[in-house]
């Protein structure tokens, strides 16, 4: 998929995500709009192999609460029918508010924060032990970087030289209570991650070209795990949702949805 096709796909994912959340009357709107471009590039450019192949690349979403965007992508990739998106959060629906393996295409059940990276470490190590060319990817939320388990895993990944592992941080700088720097300051983040033995690149997490370019360079350094700090905007693409913690799990009204969809459809960037 070329860059302009990827951009179109991002726009469609944003629209479908908002519609899905509106229908369910629940969801993590801001975080979904924040990770959509990363998911888009992962699923339409990066991840290799079919589901049946043991050697397929693995994507395990640690930022579980942004699952609505992932369901939209999985529907687009044919893992689930698009119609099923309307069942999100409904009684006995398999589309629940955090990733579940009941949904085809989902590698692990996640949702407890600080769990994805340790699992990815084991998966990446398992791939190496089996001499598979599998690469393992995760998307982390910035709020969950306060979880100690992430830093245990960071230490482990460099110690075991997991250069088939790539973590992407959705760094939108906002969490449910407010700014990261007010809740629990992460900075100087790049230096922290580098000091744990990872190779770091920083990109604009909404620039699909920049994301493609970064992923194409993996591993950044042989023998080291790779970390992409993706600078993002919570609520990206909808003016009144951007940079606003209200939209962490805010659900649009009918009128807000109408305005948001109009903005997205008219966006030519």
């Amino acid at each position: 998929m070329n860059i302009s096709e990827l951009k179109e796909r991002s726009k469609q994912y944003r629209i479908d995500t908002l519609k899905t959340i509106y229908e369910a009357k629940a969801g993590h709107t801001g975080g979904c709009l924040s990770i959509v471009d990363i998911l888009n590039v992962l699923y339409n450019h990066v991840l290799r192999g079919t589901w049946e192949e043991v050697s397929r690349d693995r994507y395990i979403q640690s930022k579980g609460h942004a699952v609505e965007a992932l369901y939209v992508v999985l529907a687009d990739k044919g893992f689930i029918p698009k119609e099923e998106l309307k069942t999100l959060g409904k009684y006995k629906s398999r589309l629940i508010g955090h990733p579940t393996k009941k949904v085809p295409g989902m590698e692990q059940n996640t949702g407890g924060l600080g769990h994805g990276l340790p699992i990815c470490c084991g998966t990446a190590l398992g791939a190496k032990k089996s001499r598979l060319d599998t690469k393992v990817y995760t998307v982390l939320g910035d709020g969950e970087m306060a979880e100690g388990s992430n830093w245990e895993a960071m230490m482990f990944a460099s110690h075991h030289q997991l250069d088939n592992l790539c973590a992407v941080l959705d760094y939108n700088k906002l969490q449910i209570t407010g700014l990261n720097e007010e809740v629990m300051n992460l900075e100087p983040l790049r230096q922290k991650i580098e000091s744990f033995g990872w190779e770091v690149r920083e990109v604009n997490g909404h620039d699909v070209g920049a994301l493609v370019n970064a992923f194409d360079q993996l591993p950044f350094v042989e023998g080291k795990p790779s970390f992409i700090i993706a600078h993002t905007v919570k609520g990206k693409g909808v003016s009144f949702m951007e940079h606003n913690k209200k939209w962490h799990h805010g659900v649009p009204t009918e009128e807000e949805l109408r305005i948001a969809l109009k903005e997205l459809e008219e966006d030519e960037s």
Binding site: N109, K129, E152
Partner: protein, 305 residues
């Protein structure tokens, strides 16, 4: 006589000789897990995590998802508390077939104090869906439990102690299956249902009782979940014995079954009471809480009065 965790390590070494997909994941715990030798013979099949139990269980889950047969080995006190959320989510809920091995369980680390005791693990894990909980009594049960855990279709928690144990009751029960209790000694006046390292003192108690004309049956309920209720005899008084809090473990599992099925028999749960545990060796702690042969025999006599 050998400690169950020694038998565990020996069994694993034998299996690893034939199975290159077998992995031990340790949290700076290969010494207490008796896996130093394993690490020397199979350096590619041991994964060191360092002292980081949450990561231990997460990494083990990821490895298991890549079709490895994974044992996550760490002191029971940390494995089932510090990393309980990883056990719940990454192992059980995600159904990654990890075998969790809680070493030096119960009050094996007696004198080290409550930080190092695991008197909560049965209770914590019983409330989590999709895991078998197994506390072998002796070398025979340990060896078979390890082999059965590898073949299990769901995650398994194996609980081992440090004390040297004799083999018990093989003349009566020569087979082992997760979820199937073993009769260690037959009896008709009372049933002593024990698990793990309390089976031996329970058998000794039954031998003492025999001398005074009381016929006690001794059951090794090595699997706490799923509980084998078919072995229970509610025609006679029942006493349960465990190296665990009296809350939430074997006793309450048995009691719950009996009550909910209208089997109202004289019943007693023996274990560690809800208090700050007394300090001392495992033996001293057992004696303090009447988990010794004499202590158990005395409780049986009280129950029969």
């Amino acid at each position: 006589m050998k400690a169950n965790q020694v038998v565990f390590a020996e069994t694993i070494e034998q299996i690893a000789a034939q199975d290159k997909d077998l992995y031990m994941v340790t949290s700076d715990s290969r010494g207490s897990g008796k896996l130093v030798n394993f690490g020397e013979i199979y350096p590619d099949q041991i994964v060191e995590i360092g002292i980081a139990e949450q990561n231990l269980v997460g990494v083990a889950s990821g490895l298991a998802s890549m079709n490895k047969k994974v044992f996550a080995v760490s002191p029971a006190c940390f494995l089932t508390a510090r990393s309980l959320e990883q056990v719940k989510n990454d192992v059980c809920y995600s159904n990654n077939k990890v075998v969790l091995v809680g070493i030096s369980a119960g009050v094996s680390y007696g004198a080290l104090g409550s930080t190092h005791h695991s008197l909560h693990d049965f209770a914590a894990l019983r409330a989590i869906n999709n895991i078998s909980i197994v506390a072998p009594a002796d070398a025979f049960e340990t060896e078979h439990a390890v082999k059965a855990a590898i073949k299990s279709k769901q995650p398994v928690y194996l609980r081992f102690g440090k004390k040297n144990m004799p083999n018990l009751g093989q003349e009566l029960s020569s087979d082992f299956k997760i979820g199937k209790a073993r009769i260690i000694k037959k009896g008709s006046d009372v049933q002593i249902v024990a698990t793990g390292e309390t089976v031996w003192p329970s058998l000794e108690a039954a031998n003492l009782l025999e001398q005074v004309g009381i016929s006690a049956e001794v059951i090794s309920m090595h699997t706490i979940k799923p509980l084998d209720t078919s072995v229970l005899n509610w025609e006679v008084p029942i006493i349960t014995v465990e190296e665990h809090s009296v809350y939430g473990g074997l006793g309450e599992a048995v009691g719950s079954f009996l009550l909910q099925n209208n089997h109202c028999v004289p019943f007693k749960i023996m274990g560690i009471p809800d208090e700050e545990t007394v300090s001392g060796s495992q033996n001293e702690i057992f004696e303090h809480y009447q988990l010794s042969p004499i202590g158990i025999a005395n409780e049986v006599k009280k129950l029969l009065r």
